[in-house]
């Protein structure tokens, strides 16, 4: 896990030292409906919500070999919501006892001039995309089913095209570090979605 270049002190204590537990999977477009139906039944009794987000990924190349990555995300369909800046650490696969991928994460709500600020700091935008889909909740678990759209013209979020014929499914929990118990709940939940979608620990390093 690389330390942020801004402060060389490790971030510890309080609500800042949070970990994201993650399971991922994907479904084809045609089986999306049945998955959503299942999720509506399993998840908390709330109105199903859709979202349309624009995400930009910023890089800062320092002395280290690997660049520092920050993700800036804003909601395109809901107004008045703050931007969301997110730092994600290096994912850890862990052993068999832990059923989910774990990575350090820092979530900050920001104002909308975040991109200017990042650029001023020396970050540059690596890529951007639009995510469109559905979000569910069960307790502290968040289930996101969305499709990623490529932005054809940089900066213009109107002209987009889907990246694939499938939807990405993510089951995530943000919890304080060391609470591996949550991964058991996640595994149980993933089991209940089993025939429709297989949620697994996917190591991004292996895909590259």
């Amino acid at each position: 896990m690389e330390a942020p270049p801004v402060t060389m002190m490790p971030v510890t204590g309080g609500t800042i030292n949070m970990m994201e537990y993650l399971l991922q999977g994907s479904v084809l477009d045609q089986s999306l409906e049945s998955l959503l139906h299942r999720l509506r039944g399993l998840c908390d009794n709330m109105e199903p919500e859709t979202f349309l987000d624009h995400e930009m990924v910023f890089l800062l190349k320092g002395q280290q070999a690997s660049p520092f990555v920050l993700r800036a995300r804003r909601s395109m369909d809901k107004t008045g919501m703050p931007w969301h800046l997110r730092y994600l650490g290096q994912p850890e696969i862990g052993d068999k006892n832990r059923h989910a991928l774990v990575r350090n994460c820092v979530d900050i709500a920001t104002s909308e001039n975040l991109t200017d600020f990042l650029v001023e700091m020396g970050f540059r935008m690596d890529h951007e995309f639009v995510a469109k889909g559905h979000v569910f909740r069960k307790g502290i678990m968040k289930i996101v089913v969305y499709k990623i759209f490529r932005i054809l013209m940089p900066g213009n979020t109107e002209s987009i095209e889907p990246l694939s014929l499938s939807y990405l499914v993510e089951l995530s929990v943000v919890a304080p570090a060391g609470q591996d118990m949550v991964s058991d709940d996640m595994r149980n939940f993933a089991e209940q979605l089993k025939p429709l979608v297989h949620l697994e620990k996917i190591d991004p390093k292996r895909l590259m």
Binding site: S75, A109, T110
Partner: protein, 639 residues
Amino acid sequence: MSGASAVRISIESACEKQVQEVGLDGSETYLQPLSMSQNLARLAQRIDFSQGSGSEEDEPGPGGRDWASPGDAEDEEGLVKFQPSLWPWDSVRNSLRSALTETCVLYDVLGILKDKKFMTLDPVVQDPPPPKQNPQFLQLISKKKSLAGAAQILLKGAERLSKSVAENQENKRQRDFNSELLRLRQHWKLRKVGDKILGDLSYRSAGSLFPHHGTFEVIKNTDIDLDKKIPEDYCPLDVQIPSDLEGSAYIKVSIQKQAPDIGDLGTVNLFKRPLPKSKPAAEVKLLIHLSLPAENQVRLLFQFQLCTFYEIEIFGAPHWQTKLEAAQNVLLCKEIFAQLSREAVQIKSQIPHIVVKNQIISQPFPGLQLSISLCHSSNDKKSQKSASDRQSPEDHLYVLEHNLHQLIREFHKQTLSSTVMPHPASAPFGHKRMKLAGPQAFDKNDINSLQSNEGLLEKIIKQAKHIFLRRRTARTIDSLASRIEDPQIQAHWSNINDVYESSVKVLITSQGYEQICKSIQLQLNIGVEQIRVVHRDGRVITLSHQEQELQDFLLSQMSQHQVHAVQQLAKVMGWHVLSFSNHVGLGPVESIGNASAITVASPNGDYAISGSISFDCDHKMYLRVRFSSCFLLESISRY
């Protein structure tokens, strides 16, 4: 062979001589034809006597068949071979002899038969008859036999019928169980775990955060004896409720004078309420459905009672339904109490709240205590009966008990609705305003206002304070009105109240002089801690919760009214008002406040009357009158 008739017919054998062999030269050697005797012997040999004698044994009558029938030519050589050395007629003679013997025997038998002395001939019976029996008895047996057969068939049919009936019943019971299960499913959350059916009593899906699992188990109640009469209230489905949720429970809220001894508080209040079985559950059920505004609670309570019966009628009170509702009520009461005691410990107030066992004690006002207790009566009858004797049922604050239920429901709703989905979707869960705090640079007050969330206990204490203040105000006004006849005091309570505020309009009038003298109108707004008095002219006076303040204020208003009334009366009578003061600083020291005084002169100026109005310690109003000109007289007239 030869004859002397006109037509000569020569008869000869077709083939005169049989050819024995034909020589190589063509010469034929003939067999010598048989002589007459030889031919006869040969023919006689061909007679098959055995055949005739054989048939003779079978048939009773004489007469051999085939006597003259020629035997088969094929046997000829066999016979010849059989008795080659015997005389040619020997077999014929033997056969004839044996035939004769048999004929003789037959003749003798027939001779004996003819006499019918020693022998008779009977027709042959195929089956020998069964041993000799009575024909009637025979009939009986056959009838019995056929009847038994018929009975057998009937029995078999009956058995089959009863079996199918039993099967039907079993099916019906099974179906009943399923239909009951379906009904249960419509009202309660069920899930299957292994071979068990578990249900959920908790309010978790409604937003409760109470950690009790609240699981009940559905049991198939089919082990009932088929032969016995099925009881009326038999239900194939039963539920098993966790032992800590059994019985009935309710939250009891009461306001008392300071308890004499805090030491025995813990033992108080675990008493059983003598109520019909199904009632508490239905009550609470209704409480939950009602989301009327909190105002007008008396009426609400009334409605609530009405609907209780209605509810019971609708459901037809199936056993499991009432059971589950009661258990759910217990669970809700426990949740309320747990929440209250948690808050009681957490909240720092000037006078700390005391949590003792199943009771929370708080002091809303000095000398007064609000006690909230969880009364859970399981089947333990012994549990503190004396407590129920000690506490009269009137000190129940039903309104607050109802409001507690309502508050917890609001609390549930809040937890359910406050969690909005994050946008953008990657953001963590949480309040929207909390997320905006950073970007919009909230200051400490803003953030504090976000976090300060009034708890259940604080709200209920505030409500209790208000209720107490309202009650005491009413009591003060009533006691004044009953003690002081003139001027009269009237109170008009407003029906439209808030849980924290209610209002009363107070009128002070002099009976019989309403036309002359305008009454004083006061609007009393009773809040949580204080009473605001609004005069007709818009002046606002704030009184504290102290009873004395209100009383003094009302008395001063009454004395002012009285002076005012005298003034008005003097005007009407043509007297002149010489001086008038609401608070005179002279004269004897009054026990409360200052006296009001007025001096009036008669129309011709001969007499002047001065009067002062004051209240003594008994809250009686006195009017002292002095006649000024000729004589001085002090008369005390009591109003």
